[in-house]
Amino acid sequence: MVRTLTPGLLTWRRAPTITTARRMVLHAMIGAGLLLLVRFADWWFRADHVANVPLFVVLSLAVWYGAGRIVIGWINVARMRIPDHMDAPSDLTVAVFTTSSPGEPLSMFEKTLAACSHISYPHTTYLLDDTRNPAFRETAERHGAVWLELTDLPGAKAGKINAALARTSENFILVLDPDHVPFPNFLHRVLGHFTDASVGFVQVAQAYYNQHRSFTAAGAADQTYAFYGPTQVGLYGHGAAVAIGANCTFRREALASIGGHGIGLAEDLVTSIRLHAAGWRSVYVPEVVSRGLVPEDLGSFFKQQLKWARGVYEVMFAELPHAARSLSWRQVLSYGAIGTYYLSGITAPMYLAIPYVYLWTGVQPASMLFGEFIAMGAPVAIVAIAIYLYCQQWLCDGDRERGLHLRGLMLKIACWPVFLHGTLLAIIRADIPYIPTAKEAVRGRFLRLAWPSLLLLLAYFVTLGYTLYDRLLRESAGNLMLSSQAVWGMMAFATVSAALSGGGIYAAWQARNPPTGATWDDIQLEAIQCDVVNA
């Protein structure tokens, strides 16, 4: 793994335009995919495929949850739309908000605040600070930023934003995460869209500069590429581009109309839904005009995912039902799709368990011919992968982001206990338990992060050993050959899931020694390359 900053990261990138021909090709692929999926469904739901009714129902739910999410993804990308660039009017008043909290490294703010001062559109940078550390004030002011002390506010970041809104007057507010380095042309690429008075917020892509630092960072970044490319571009086409909390520029009037920035674990999503429900439009600009940090160690990643899972469910339970009446059906579908992502915390263990249940008890959910399953399912899978790859031409930074994103997949699989935890917490309406920052023994941390994957691996090898012993030495000759395909087919499934869980174990192993050194020191602001149009 390369441990230096990948060249070209600090260059302004954007997704290419969508030509009619390419959109038609995409529609043809989606059409083919839907037909194949109908064929697969027609075959799947045959009564004589049911071997065990409860297990078949469970398996079907898992399979068709996955297929349903794929279809929603297709519906989404079918309407991909990239807005034409609009030149920024010269007379807008703009604030850039970034927040600092106790424990965050000062040197990171040196970089961020310096980069903010390089943003070429006239603006005022505000540091929303509750560190009670005078050095932060000094640093902010040295870079020409306004220091606002905002301590003891409920609602963490969103609370500070709302308090800062009350103390400022600019009409447009860019909310920037403190670990993000904005490029000089950031505001120029965004502000023009506010010429349309109905636009409430403009979101740009989130991109990273530390994905080379660990398996977790690479996998976590992998998981975001499609979202900030084809997915958000599609959401925009459906009138549902969502705010991500960071890199989002709001119209003050819009925030005021919903009583300020939403508060909670998924404050970005709440704000987004409320703005859409209040009738504001949103714009998504698929461009890399800043780069920031993605979690580098598995523990931080799990913590982030748990927060998001719990937060997103909260939005689904508490926010979306109220807002649904004021939203378009496309917006409801889009937000609903975001909300179902974490259900894989329930379906993943089902998939994982099926081969083991069969190999130890002989009970299987479905009596399908393996060959038929492949014949029916593989075309759907092939088309789904083809669509995924085809859509990668609309990634923001295709050269660096294209690929099968297997590390992202492995990390998602490793996350199922986290997603499940978040799901259960949301159902019983419990808060996320306080997770102390790891200061314990290295070994303990590895086991704490990797135990589900290690257990799976242990189960796999025990099962493999037992199956070999049982079949080669004990299974009756009358059964041996006639059961061989079913048993080894299931073992093949178990092998795939065991192999994929290897990624999570590797990530946890790496987390014993997280990368050291301040990544932001690698960023040379002078190296940022971007054309500032209409400067």
Binding site: H27, M481, L482, S484, Q485
Partner: protein, 389 residues
């Protein structure tokens, strides 16, 4: 130009999308598609590899015990001219397991040299050539026998538009087979049978002279059409190089006139018939001895000069003494009916093919019957010893 380009693009994308769908549907169709085929082959390799490994670890076991059968299993000429009385079984655990076969073998102490299975014609995956089952039978050291039933209505019109509608297929069905309408299916079996490469016995369209049971009976067909169909099938197999197939012709001797169905000496390797005593389970049945069911027809069957097989051999326990029935049938078999070279137990626990309530033919749990028929294993003969000694 712009409009023309649009129309061209629309057409191109429509054709492309239809093309993608067709290509994929074609690539993945039913059990004959290339995906399925590759998987099938792969599955076969896995099964055979595992079996070899198990044999190496456990020793050859039954294959060695049945070592004298090796010649039969590999050389069709030996199986066509058997020099000993072979036992065998149809067990209703097939194709899920052969454990029932092995259990009956232990109970009777007769080596089950032939294992019978039933296969119906049709489109479904279970109606294709049962390679896995045959491999499994071969792997335990026995000879497989497939009773191959031409149920013509299991072919779907959507897949075979040239076939008559389902309702019209049974009438004259054998003539349709003879005319080549079903060659697509026969040829696939023939090729797979050839690829199996060990001896496999096929009992095609059995009880063709029974007007009540099966659609290939005389209610729908003329005897000459049966003969033509039989010859067509055998010819197609021979053309495919499936010379490892041993053909078993099997009329129902209780119905007169079965001789009219004889396809000819060069088209038949074995002659078979059933000998099932239904006792008093149904109003149409009474207790018949083996001699009454089979013995009185033996001379005419023997006149065909082929080895004779009792393909379905059994008695219920209702209406008489079952143990006595078996011991009478088997006690003097070789002397009384020297041309009988195979007896296949009908080990079916729940048979409701001809009666309303299920009949239990199995004897594995009937200690009286087992005691009556148990005897020392027929000694394997030296290969060069002439038959009948």
């Amino acid at each position: 130009m712009r409009r023309r380009k649009r129309i061209a693009l629309t057409l191109a994308s429509m054709i492309a999308s239809v093309g993608i769908v067709l290509a994929l549907i074609f690539a993945g169709t039913a059990s004959e598609g290339p995906f399925a085929r590759v998987l099938h082959t792969l599955g076969g390799i896995v099964g055979r590899t595992e079996n070899r490994a198990a044999l190496r670890l456990r020793g050859p076991g039954r294959i060695q015990e049945l070592g004298w059968l090796e010649r039969y299993r590999e050389d069709p000429a030996v199986t066509m001219a058997p020099d000993t009385l072979l036992f065998g079984v149809f067990d209703d655990g097939i194709p899920a397991t052969l454990n029932g076969v092995l259990a009956l073998e232990r109970a009777t102490r007769f080596p089950m040299a032939i294992v019978q299975m039933y296969g119906a014609w049709g489109d479904k995956p279970v109606q294709q050539f049962p390679r896995t089952t045959l491999d499994a039978i071969h792997a335990i050291g026995s000879i497989p026998l497939v009773t191959w039933e031409p149920w013509l209505t299991d072919f779907e019109n959507s897949k075979h538009p040239s076939l008559p509608l389902r309702a019209d297929r049974d009438r004259g069905g054998l003539q349709a087979i003879a005319s080549g309408q079903y060659d697509f299916y026969i040829d696939r079996w023939a090729a797979e049978a050839a690829a199996f490469d060990h001896v496999v016995m096929i009992r095609f369209a059995h009880e063709m002279n029974d007007p009540y049971r099966s659609p290939w009976g005389p209610q729908n067909n003329e005897p000459q059409h049966f003969i033509a169909a039989w010859r067509r099938v055998v010819d197609r197999f021979n053309a495919a190089g499936a010379t490892n197939v041993v053909w078993v012709w099997s009329p129902h001797v209780a119905y007169a006139g079965w001789e009219q169905y004889w396809p000819g000496d060069e088209y038949v390797d074995w002659v078979a018939t059933g000998a099932l005593n239904y006792g008093t389970v149904a109003h149409w049945s009474k207790w018949w001895t083996f001699a009454e069911i089979f013995g009185r027809h033996y001379p005419s069957l023997a006149g065909l000069n082929k080895p004779i097989m009792i393909a379905e051999f059994g008695s219920v326990g209702v209406g008489g003494n079952r143990a006595e029935w078996y011991s009478q049938a088997l006690g003097n078999l070789e002397l009384q009916y020297p041309q009988v070279r195979a007896v296949l137990f009908f080990n079916m626990r729940r048979d409701n093919t001809v009666t309303y309530q299920a009949i239990d033919w199995s004897i594995a749990a009937d200690s009286a019957t087992l005691g009556a028929i148990r005897r020392p294993l027929p000694a394997p003969r030296a290969p060069n010893q002439p038959a009948g000694n």
